[in-house]
Amino acid sequence: MQYLIRFTQLHETFRLAEIKALAVLAGVDLKIISYSDESPFCLVEFPSDEAARAVIERSILAQSVYEHWGTAETLDDLHATIKRDTAHLWPLYAEPSFKISIDSYRGSRSQKQKVALINSFSYLAFKGPILLSSPDNEFTLFEKWALEPIPEKKLPSPLQVYFGRLISHSARDLINTFDLKKRDYISTTSMDSELALVTANIALAGPGKLFYDPFVGTGSFPVACAQFGSLVWGSDIDGRSMRGAGGKKSLFGNFQQYGLEKFLGGVFVSDLTNTPVRKARILDGILCDPPYGVREGLKVLGCRDPEKDVRSVERGKLMYRDPAFIPPKKPYSFIAMLDDILNFATDMLVDNGRLSFWMPTANDEDQEIAIPTHPCLEVVVICTQVFNKWSRRLITYRRLPDSDVDVAALALRKKQEDQASGRSADDLNPFRRHYFRGFKSEQELDAVTRETTQLQT
């Protein structure tokens, strides 16, 4: 059966990824009939109303789903289609209460026009009472207007019209519930509620599953996963981010604010390169927004130069039992970190478990950072959020069952040594380097240096 999904026109590249993931989660067959990043309307096929509801009621980027009664370029054609295809459905809705609404995308209709549009459906012969709030059945006429910045130039009629019966609204209200502005404890790098919830959906968070965030910060991702019923763990190299000021102003306080504390398995202070997590394939999902080294340092345990820092090593030996002891840290290669995340996910995820992480990259092709790969992980989907000169991508992988892994590629990977060299944060992190140079190319940078030298002379 055909259904019409009304999406929000935002985060376009995430929309299908989310719906497909939710279909996997609900165990529902989903076929996309027509979809475009430019349109909020998407035609799909679901086996039943229940299947459509199961998928959409957890969606963040969809607004609602409708039983599809017709699509046409003009209202007259739409009426013809509805009369031709759906007459057998009309008696089902003849008696119960109902309502017809108008949803104009990129356009607007006056109250008078709306009434006229609604009345044009009188042939449906619904005799039930019209209820504006919570009717038994709700029908919507959608209009898609052309993008026209000057209202006077507007075309006289929309480009396309759709009609459908409401099946279910989505979980979009959750964005408001988890809004960072209303959250007691956040930091500069907290993920906004909409994208955190979308990430949890794409990673298939669900009741009874185990999720872990190795760069937990203030807990945006675990909170989102817990909302969907998963048991969550988190860790961070900086304990202060989790402890906060204590009480309400802490990661635990955030879980309490939403009444989700029973889903918090625990948080601990640790570094991914020296993780205390037991190597066993027990996690259903790993979600993280690793540090990019721009707003926050990208560090791991260790000394920058063990020969020079002998004293600090010696001091560590004497002092490490002291509760106030802070172990030394060294800069970490961005690329090595991505590799470490993939290796960790390979060791920890159950078959078909998902790893979803955010990774920044420059928009300029020359400076783009490649998608990291691993023989045991298959890329499921890549979604991109574009900023001015850089973007961040949400990359989602699926842990392949061992029987599907390319053994030769895996052996080759194990042979390759970590080739990251260099000591400064800039040497180790191409993204950070480009970011602080304003994403200029090497030639542009040369020109700038030449100018400054000329000015000086």
């Binding site: 048991l231 601990f268 202070v269 020296n274 993780t275 490490y320 002891f325 172990p327």
Partner: protein, 127 residues
């Protein structure tokens, strides 16, 4: 953190990873609190295969809980056995370790637990 977490954690020192004595970590001077959480049978049954039963038995005994059966129940057995369900739920999900230390039996390193958060950062000579 929940007692369940102890089943997923081991010593962070790399050379200890290959030593069987490094897992599980042994709680010392542990201060526990008990939450009240509604029992979810499916959740526990789903969790069961991911638990290292021997390690859990050790942890339970060390924290002063009654001894667990020597072998893990199958999911059918667990479904039929309300008492074991109740006990496991209480141990794994309702009990939290808030203060104390976690000790590795292989290298002797003690990881401090404060306000429910364990610290696994290592000094440079152990990295």
């Amino acid at each position: 953190m929940k007692v369940l977490s102890l089943n997923f954690l081991t010593c962070a020192v790399k050379t200890c990873k290959t030593q069987s004595t490094s897992y599980p970590l042994h709680p010392k001077d542990a201060e526990l609190v008990q939450d009240d959480i509604e029992l979810n049978q499916d959740f526990l049954i789903n969790l069961l295969p991911r638990i290292d039963w021997t390690a859990l038995s050790t942890t339970a005994t060390e924290l002063g809980f009654p001894a667990l059966p020597p072998t893990p129940p199958t999911s059918e057995e667990l479904r039929a056995d309300a008492k074991t369900l109740r006990d496991l739920h209480s141990l794994l999900l309702e009990t939290q370790m808030v203060e104390g230390k976690l000790v590795c039996a292989s290298c002797g390193h003690e990881y401090a637990v404060r306000e429910g958060i364990a610290n696994f950062l290592l000094p440079s000579h152990l990295v």
